[in-house]
């Protein structure tokens, strides 16, 4: 009997229990902001609303517990909660004031930690066990106390084991010292998570034994027949030859899929329909946070244009768009101005389209709008492989309403220019492919959005509202290659896993250019702790600042960093299972004599 079947069974049982009121108490475990519109008794007032108020220093306690919780339409007997809630409480801080964040470990026999994602602070408070501090032992507490010197939308999560996957994440909003230039009548947090009822250690073990375990959208005979019918034998065989020769799966979009994941918005699964209220004509700020472990999402609100005003907490010149792809750990702030007295769906597809999170923007509780069907499963291309002039790959798979003709040409034109070639080092047996041709793909739409008939945000559109403060030419360059071997589920930098690695030194005070080349077949969300990375995306002195950069397969990105934050900073892929497999480094900013690894 399949797990899914078990889950369905369990959900049915729980639904029955819920209707008899036996589970009534469980809903109390949701945070106030996530307790939303599944019934009149759960009044939306304040749900996920950013409260704001008088600027002040904040002391907040975070109680980490293992306990049962009703979630994703089921019941998880041993989730990790923060203050009895998944996700954890909304943390609001004020720039120019102090933060005093106390983490209390109530777990019986597990160490824990909280990393304040994207926050500038003394590295000892950054919350990475084994790097910044020894971790928080069971029964112990830890206090991070620091002056807040930034504002924007961020989040926090455990950096210990798989705790993040089973609940230990939460949103964070920092209010600016100056009056916020981004005006909004209502301000909501939209936190996205991927949830599994499986033990995450088991999820990773399954991937180690059979890397395609969760992929139920591989190409089959049916696709072969369709491709032949559409493109003829010659082209189809050439395509199969190219992928088979590489031993690569063009439908390898996500390692872990909707087969096990439920996708949550503010802790609620799609049927529970998290709802945010608005009055027509108001300006609504949505602070979208991807707090998931393994899932990229496509975010859109059919019928409403969005103005992107900040990315990773950092304000950008507003860009109007209809859809954006959000990598793991990124945050996007958007402004929407619904004029009509009707409901709008917040549609959040997983990038591989094996599932979705969903919520509603409505003038009144209980209103809903149509939920669009999931679109066609995307496919990788030879550009992703770091090869090829054109696109031998077939267009996206079947499914209704998808534009199929002419995509090869469209994709070819959309592919960014080749900016470098790969050197002779293939990074050893732990790495399966290299990006022979490294492209600048910042101007490209995200995977699977190449052909959607509306505007899609690209990295190249992001422009800082302020010119960079450090205009020095970089004096130190570090190049890192993202490497891996999907078939053995190995992930690393430069073919070397963390345990066998040495720290990467950034000389204190210098301007550093960090070049990241993605040799693998999938995008990776690469996060640097402690310092922002200015993405060289062609915006001159107005480069956008990122704490997490999604690096497309077969691409080369260049980032500028002012190494002015002394510390030992984690630098890693934010796919949880990639990090656990060793796609991780420590960047050390110090004045060690001879610290040089250029």
């Amino acid at each position: 009997m399949s797990d899914t079947h078990h889950d369905a069974e369990r959900r049915r049982l729980l639904k029955a229990l819920a209707t008899t009121g036996l589970l009534a108490g469980l809903e109390g475990l949701l945070p106030a902001y996530a307790r939303a519109g599944s019934g009149p008794e759960r009044h939306l007032a304040g749900a996920a609303r950013v409260a704001g108020g008088k600027p002040r220093s904040v002391t907040q306690d975070f109680h980490i517990r293992r306990e049962g919780i009703g979630i994703a339409g089921g019941y998880a007997p041993s989730a990790i909660t923060v203050n009895h809630s998944i996700p954890g409480p909304l943390l609001e801080l004020w720039e120019g004031h102090e933060a005093r964040l106390r983490v209390h470990n109530h777990l019986l026999d597990e160490s824990t930690s909280i990393h304040w994602h994207g926050i500038l602070l003394p590295f000892q408070m950054d919350g990475v066990p084994g790097v910044a501090f020894p971790g928080i032992a069971p029964g112990d507490s830890f206090e991070a106390r620091f002056p807040v010197r930034q504002h924007g939308t961020y989040w926090y999560h455990s950096h210990t084991g798989f705790q993040e996957q089973i609940g230990q994440t939460g949103p964070m909003v920092i209010h600016p010292a100056e009056p916020d230039p981004i005006k909004a009548d209502r301000d909501y947090v939209v936190m996205l998570n991927d949830w599994t009822f499986e033990d995450p250690a088991r999820v990773l073990a399954q991937l180690k034994k059979m890397s395609g375990y969760y992929n139920f959208s591989k190409r089959t005979m049916e696709d072969l027949v369709e491709d032949v019918a559409r493109s003829g034998w010659a082209k189809t065989l050439k395509d199969r030859e190219a992928w088979g020769g590489m031993r690569m799966n063009p439908r390898g979009i996500a390692d872990v899929t909707g087969h096990t994941y439920s996708y949550l918005m503010n802790g609620l699964h799609p049927e529970a329909n998290w709802t945010a209220l608005f009055a027509p004509g108001e300006r609504i700020r949505l602070r979208v946070i991807n707090g998931s472990s393994m899932s990229y999402f496509n975010f859109r609100i059919p019928g409403l244009a969005m103005s992107v005003v900040a990315v990773d907490g950092q304000a950008v010149e507003p860009v109007e768009t209809d859809e954006f792809q959000i990598g793991v750990a990124e945050t996007y702030d958007v402004i929407v101005e619904p004029q009509e007295d009707k409901a709008y769906t917040l549609m959040v597809e997983s990038m591989d389209r094996s599932g979705y999170a969903r919520g509603t923007l409505a003038p009144r509780m209980g209103m809903t709008a149509a939920v669009p069907e999931l679109r066609a499963q995307p496919q990788r291309t030879l550009v992703d492989m770091g090869m090829g002039r054109g696109m031998m790959t077939m267009g996206p798979g079947k499914k209704k309403g998808q534009r199929l003709e002419g995509d090869s040409v469209a994709l070819k034109e959309a592919a960014g220019p080749v900016v470098a070639q790969h050197g002779p080092d293939h990074h050893g047996a732990g790495n399966a492919t290299i990006a022979k041709k490294q492209r600048d793909r910042l101007g490209e739409r995200g995977t699977g959005l190449e052909d959607v008939p509306h505007r899609v945000l690209t990295y190249s559109q992001l422009r800082n509202i302020e010119p960079m403060s450090d205009k020095r030419e970089p004096t130190h360059t570090v190049e890192v290659h993202l490497t891996g071997n999907m078939s053995s589920y190995m992930w690393s930098f430069d073919g070397v896993e963390y345990s066998d690695s040495k720290v990467i030194d950034f000389p204190y005070g210098e301007r550093v250019r960090l070049i990241i080349v993605n040799d693998t077949m999938m995008e990776h969300p690469i996060h640097l702790h402690g310092m922002f990375m200015e993405l060289e995306n062609g915006q001159g002195e107005y480069l956008p600042k990122k704490h997490t950069i999604s690096v497309r397969s077969g691409s080369r990105v260049s980032l500028l960093i002012s190494a002015v934050e002394p510390g030992r900073w984690a630098f890693h892929c934010h796919f949880l299972y990639h990090m656990e497999r060793g796609m991780f480094r420590v960047v050390r900013v110090s004045n060690l004599p001879g610290a040089d690894n250029a």
Partner: protein
Amino acid sequence: MLKKSWMTTLLLSAGIGGIAQADSHGKASLESVVPEGPIEPSSGAPRGWRAKPTKDDEIYAFSMIDRLEYGDSDEGQTYLWDAQGWIGNDYNKFWWETEGEGPVGDGAIEASQFEANYAHKIWPYFNLQGGVRYDTNPNPDRGFLMVGLEGLAPYWFVTDMEAYLSEDGDVSASAEFEYNLLLTQRLVLMPRIGIKASAQDEPEYDLGSGITSTEMGLRLRYEIRREFAPYIGVRWNQMYGETKDIAEEMGKSTSTTSFVAGLRVWY
């Protein structure tokens, strides 16, 4: 309790009384980045810390019964097993394999072999193996040294090639290739071919030199779960050359076609 002692250390290392004031910019001091005493090379942190930010050296284990099979042919009914597994890290694994077969009913195992080897990942898709094999059937028992190359060849061919040196000094080899053809996401057609060869006559074991036998199969499995897939199919065993002549002299069948049903399970 708050970790006072640790906080104190931090405050001291920051040099001023209070984090917020330690540095007006809320940064750690440069002196605090490189600890005194032994340093862990990957983290730059003190060597004594037990916590690690990743578990990339975790040991995993895998066991699979590739075929647990019942066969029906003109020659009678047969059973067959073919199982393998490993335990280890990304680059170094201990592998085991066993396979065997016999007729259903009268109990005599026709062939059974057990193999244990060390496998090292030499290329992204291949392991080099070295170890021992021991056959308990057909009689008499004998041991082998083995080397092998196991992995995934281009175009998704699951490949296992092995060469053996027996305790009597006989050299032999085997090769197996499989392919998974997805009819749907769960219904998989798997052609399989196994070839055995010997470098010399091995009269005690009824083998002649050259290719001794092949086993071809076509199996259709349904993955109820990834770990649990029943299958049906057909298997064709064929002997060649001198091996075939020997079998004919003994009045044995040299070419057998069986309909098979079985189970593929792994953990």
